[in-house]
């Protein structure tokens, strides 16, 4: 796969048009790595001149911040900002709404101001600029979209993912709770990394039930953590034979045979 790093770019005296922030999940989690690769295929298809930080990338600190550890968060942020600023990064794209939110909203005050895009926004932009064409080859499959909290309510982005899905020739069916009323998958606020408090149901199961009520073939998401939670939810409801959980980048890569 053609994935240049910033260090390589710099050695060649080049500056990419955009930095792809892979994020910790996208770098290490086996399921999320597939999303990362799907997105790189899309970037390559559109001939985007991008680079990654590679081994120079580090956690944004989002999970530590939501857990209350402002100290670890700000240390991470300052370290990342030093590197990003040293490479004179202007534009960042990421597949992780949590990185998206943190880089876009919480880094500026700490000295790191960038133009930050979620990958669905970025792909949407590539299409509107005529750099990428989607030919919608899926046969009207029922797809429902789960809004990631950190893309939706946190940053009011509900349309980019939906516009992309609609371009794929699928039947987009909305859950009863959608957009600003969407129910969380249960991973946010550092819940991903701990057992839930005692209760009578896991949040991801409740959300998966919302999704299954639309009788979908595919549950689409735009967040690696939502993806894990919904995948686990589908398993818990014994639907893994009939329902697939896919990131929008994967949907696009599959339908365009990338």
């Amino acid at each position: 796969m053609n994935v240049p790093t910033m260090a390589e770019m710099m050695a060649q005296g080049k500056q990419p048009e955009v930095l792809f922030w892979v994020g910790s999940a996208g770098s290490y989690d086996d399921r999320a790595k597939k999303i990362t690769r799907a997105f790189v295929k899309i970037l390559n298809k559109a001939n985007v001149d991008f680079a990654v930080l590679g081994t120079e990338e580090s956690s944004t600190g989002d999970a530590a911040k939501r857990a209350g550890n402002e100290m670890v968060f700000q240390m991470q942020a300052m370290t990342n900002i030093e590197i990003l600023n040293a490479y004179e990064i202007k534009k960042i794209v990421t597949c992780d709404p949590h990185s998206f939110n943190t880089l876009k909203n919480e880094y500026p005050e700490l000295g790191g101001t960038y133009e930050v895009y979620h990958h669905t926004q970025y792909i949407q932009q590539l299409i509107s600029e005529g750099r990428l064409e989607l030919n919608g080859s899926m046969d009207n499959d029922r797809v429902t979209f789960h809004d990631p909290c950190y893309l939706g309510r946190a940053n009011d982005e509900y349309e980019s993912p939906r516009e992309l899905i609609k371009r794929l020739g699928v039947n987009l069916v909305e859950m009863k709770r959608n957009k600003r009323n969407a129910l969380c998958c249960g991973a946010g606020g550092a819940q991903m990394f701990k057992e839930p408090e005692k209760g009578d149901l896991d949040v991801n199961v409740l959300r998966t039930r919302d999704a299954l009520k639309t009788n979908p073939k595919i549950i689409a998401t735009g967040c690696p953590y939502c993806n894990t939670m919904m995948t686990d939810g589908v398993k818990a409801e014994n639907k893994e034979e009939s329902v697939e959980v896919l990131d929008i980048a994967e949907l696009i890569a599959n339908s365009e045979n990338l």
Binding site: M1, S27, K198, V203
Partner: protein, 435 residues
């Protein structure tokens, strides 16, 4: 003795308003116990929010049934209160329906009030049915036991009684009925009371009149003790609400200072503090009591009317966890009231009572159940932000007490050591491209 009515009225009015003002001052004092936060920027957006969300009830109709009924009660409340102006003039100067000189316009006003009174009465009865017959779950969460449950009902009864008194006050007003100017609803009640001799009718009318104004003054003064302050505080609360994207959490300023120092290669960690530099106690990280919260968060607590839209959309609460964003606001207010009473009892100074918001009111179990999804913030019709309180209290738990759940401690250690929440080698970060 001729002026005895007017004197009694003046005393009642003065006492009612004075007591209310006293409580408003207390309210302000308590809110000012919060930390400072600057919300004086972006004035246009703030006014806009206040007009749209508070005055215009912009978020209420997201739930159409309760939203529309609420708008009726709100409009009715605001407009019918114009009548209070006349009542006050009549009461003070012994006049009767002093504004009736306006003729047709007066009739139009009173007619409007009467129609609204019926609509309000209808809405309030539906509200009661929703609570007590349909038992809509958000009115029956566990924090809605005892006073909070009764408080909601008292308000409904108050409104029912006040509207009924208003209509019957008009119905028993013989002159008003004969004038046939604005008695659009009360004319249908008039036949029921007509049998009484005129003098009796007059005393009934006077009684309803007194009960009506008395009821209004009692209601005004009940506000401070009830969940109903939102009718006033919704306005400042929406004005001072957070304008940043909901996902943007504050960067702790105390931490910022420390981290900058750590990252600064020129900083001397052993340097003595400079002249004039604050050598006082180091600032506390996060919040463990109401005085660690900012004044907007405290204003939020007084504004909450316990409608429970937040809790009914909270993923943690929907799956049976202890957390309820509404309870976070109620507990914050309860503790703030306790602190305020403590200050009053101790001559203006807070005397340590061995209690705090954390543990004594809000448990860590509640705080750790939050997914930070912002559903509660999105839902609140008056822009209350329970999430910011939860986050501030988590900061205290983690940075002051190292009291995070064990798995989170591991996650945070991993981020510190490996730059990822899991225990992977930093050097493997790019392996995905060749897999």
């Amino acid at each position: 003795m001729e002026y005895i009515d007017n004197i009694i009225f003046a005393i009642l009015l003065f006492a009612g308003i004075a007591f209310f003002v006293r409580n408003v001052k207390k309210l302000k004092r308590n809110i000012d116990l919060g930390k400072d936060i600057d919300r004086s920027d972006r004035k246009n957006e703030r006014w806009n929010n206040m007009f749209r969300i508070a005055l215009g009830q912009g978020k209420m109709t997201r739930r159409p049934v309760s939203g529309l009924l609420h708008i009726i009660v709100y409009v009715g409340f605001v407009i019918i209160n114009i009548e209070v102006l006349e009542i006050i003039i009549d009461g003070l100067f012994g006049t009767h329906r002093v504004l009736s000189f306006m003729g047709g316009f007066y009739g139009f006003l009173i007619g409007t009030f009467e129609v609204l009174a019926v609509l309000v009465l209808f809405s309030v009865i539906v509200f009661w049915i929703r609570r007590m017959v349909l038992r809509i779950p958000r009115f029956w969460n566990k924090e809605m036991k005892g006073f909070p449950k009764n408080d909601g009902l008292y308000i409904l009864y108050f409104e029912m009684v006040l509207m009924t008194l208003f209509l019957f006050m008009n119905a028993t007003d013989h002159q008003f009925q004969l004038a046939k100017n604005g008695n659009v609803i009360s004319q249908y009640l008039y036949p029921f009371v007509l049998e009484n001799p005129p003098i009796v009718l007059h005393y009934i009318e006077r009684t309803f009149w007194w009960l009506h104004i008395g009821g209004i003054l009692i209601f005004l003064n009940y506000l401070y003790y009830s969940k109903h302050l939102h009718i006033l505080l919704a306005f400042p609360n929406t004005f001072f609400a957070n304008l940043n994207p909901k996902g943007q959490f504050t960067n702790d300023a105390t931490v910022m200072k420390e981290v900058k120092l750590m990252m600064d290669p020129d900083a001397d960690p052993f340097a003595a503090p400079q002249e004039g530099e604050d050598e006082g106690e180091p600032e506390k990280f996060g919040a463990s009591d109401v005085t660690d919260l900012n004044w907007v968060q405290l204003l939020n607590a007084y504004t909450c009317t316990e409608c429970g839209r937040c809790t009914s959309s909270c993923p943690a609460n929907l799956t049976g966890k202890e957390l309820s964003p509404r309870a976070i606001m109620m507990k914050t207010r309860d503790r703030l009231e306790e602190v305020g009473k403590n200050i009053d009892a101790n001559g203006g100074e807070f005397k340590d009572d061995g209690k705090q918001l954390l543990n004594d009111y809000i448990t860590p179990e509640e705080l750790w159940a939050c997914t930070s999804c912002n559903a509660c913030v999105e839902e609140c019709p008056v822009s209350i932000d329970p999430l910011s309180i939860i986050m501030d209290m988590r900061r205290y738990l983690v940075m002051e007490q190292s009291a995070a759940p064990q798995e989170l401690n591991m996650m945070m250690t991993n981020i510190e050591n490996n730059g990822a929440p899991w225990q992977y080698n930093q050097m493997d970060r790019l392996n995905w491209k060749d897999e």
